[in-house]
Point group: C2
Chain length 331, copies 2
């Protein structure tokens, strides 16, 4: 910067003003400085600027994984909005490992991100207080169980998602529905389903609930196979899967065991991941507004950065919607 200044016959300060586009430089001076910059191939050093300003134009995002369509869409949307605002994304993944999450948190905070977004159900609640004391805006998103009341959180009404799925099944006349879910993670969704059935005086016996850990298609398939005998013996006409990925596996298992969807058994999931629309049959599901969630959370953070103010705890609950496709039919 000093080289540029000398070459243009000004001081570093003037160069700084030109680089940052401040409107306090005469056109003539500006031209000289810009010429010098071009000749020297000067590039400002953001690290030095950050040290001086205390700002990095970077926000951190801690997310359980990125290899799942739900999160990859969320991350993509967050990055898009950040980039549109000249911010950069420092992405950290936890894979459900709490120690790793804490390391990532420490790494991001000491790296002075201007804001931090945390997704998933990790209770990092108490650990983020240092950041907040430093005045760094923090928000939570995709928080499924027990959203803390100390931080702003932008999430989805997962209970309602379950309720919508259950009600859809009820409207089709299903009385006997089995549940295949990643428990306890998705207990809220299952609670929603139960509430929908309870409204008509029905319930889901405990042994009609199958666990699909990891919420993967594989575990859905495996749980589906375990469920088949019961489906047959108990005259169950519908299966609720707590996730589309699980539902896809369940459908495959049912088919492999000779059950037709939706003639013999209806299947509904939650999420609306891209492949659900192209499954065979296409999957009826409850769409989670993930991109909207990403936008609102990022927007909230960006606003907090622009006009610093204490993180007012707030809860934004986004509404899911049923997407009726071919995997569900009359009982």
């Amino acid at each position: 910067m000093l080289d540029v200044a000398r070459r243009a016959g000004v001081t570093k300060q003037t160069v700084s003003n030109v680089v940052r586009g401040r409107q306090v430089v005469s056109p003539a001076t500006r031209a000289k400085v810009e010429a010098a910059i071009a000749e020297l191939g000067y590039t400002p050093n953001m690290v030095a600027r950050s040290l001086a300003t205390g700002t990095t134009m970077t926000v951190g995002f801690i997310v359980p994984t990125i290899a799942h369509p739900f999160y990859s869409e969320v991350v993509e949307e967050v990055e898009d909005l950040l980039e549109a605002n000249d911010y950069h994304l420092l992405l950290a993944t936890t894979h459900g490992d709490e120690a790793r999450a804490l390391r990532q948190l420490a790494g991001l905070s000491s790296r002075s991100v201007d804001a931090l977004l945390v997704a998933g159900d990790f209770d990092l609640g108490e650990y983020v207080t240092p950041l907040r004391e430093q005045g760094i805006p923090v928000a939570l998103c995709a928080w499924e169980v027990d959203p803390p009341d100390s931080l702003p959180v932008v999430t989805i009404d997962y209970e309602k998602a379950g309720h919508l799925a259950g009600r859809h099944l009820r409207e089709l006349g299903h009385d006997r529905v089995a549940v295949i879910a990643d428990l306890p993670a998705h207990r809220i969704r299952v609670g929603g389903v139960r509430r929908a059935l309870a409204a008509d005086g029905m319930s889901v016996p405990e042994d009609w609930v199958f666990s699909a850990p990891e919420a993967s298609t594989e575990s859905g398939y495996e749980a589906g196979e375990r469920a088949v005998p019961l489906l047959r013996s108990a005259g169950i006409t519908a299966v609720f899967a707590s996730t589309d990925a699980i539902a896809l596996g369940v459908m495959q298992a049912l088919r492999d065991h000779g059950l037709r969807i939706p003639q013999d058994v209806s299947v509904v999931g939650i999420d609306d991941i891209p492949q659900s629309a192209h499954a065979h049959p296409s999957l009826t599901t409850v769409a989670l507004p993930k991109r909207q969630m990403a936008r609102e959370a990022t927007g909230l953070l960006l606003r907090r950065i622009a006009q610093p103010q204490p993180d007012v705890p707030s809860l934004t609950l986004l509404h899911p919607e049923v997407v009726i496709r071919a995997s569900s039919g009359p009982a």
Copy 2:
């Protein structure tokens, strides 16, 4: 840091030595300093350290998109390896927008990443020279067409992937195969298929090639529908899709038009994304070693950071493998 030093009765330098774990501090002093750090809740400021050392423990990754299973797995693997080495990930997305790619590039370089990885077919080749002159290691990965010979690139033998797909079809006795591809992006893959057929004196007429832009399931479906009449009239027994996503859409279209897979038409894709194994029927494909690619590229960069040396241009070509499942059968 000064506060900690005073409280422990030492100088900043000693605190720095303790924080960085240098083995030059007496246990007694170390204990005092650590106590002071704990009492004051001191956290080192990485920005200041970066300014002093010229190192950020951060690597940038520019990628076309993250909402596609191929890239999301690559990104996940890169992040895992970086995190294991105490590095952080600055992720930038281009969405095929060259101007955006250049902005991202400038943003990352001025932010002083310690290394840069670029995925996708953007010819950022000439634009990265400033970085390289700064001594920042740069590598390319997932480079499908014309890998530049000026930079290290870790990619996959896409031509071989196509060739393997074509040979698999030949071995099943298919003489007449149609192609549904995202062209021109995947021309190398299609070239591989053609080479496999040519070995037996066969070829793919131009009007047996259908375009599926964006390589999405939707465009695969749409292209599949366009192809159906030809498949029937020309007695075509197999379809090569340049991507699993496309193949999934194609399968759906064929089914919707009454063609059975693989009895009437075999379908093979390339990639081996997770959902291919759970499609109906499960998709025969050529697995691209994306995670290995991610590991090798990241490892290369990390090694260059550790022992600075000019970016020796090198080309690492990883080998794909056929995964035979249920969507392909005898002609």
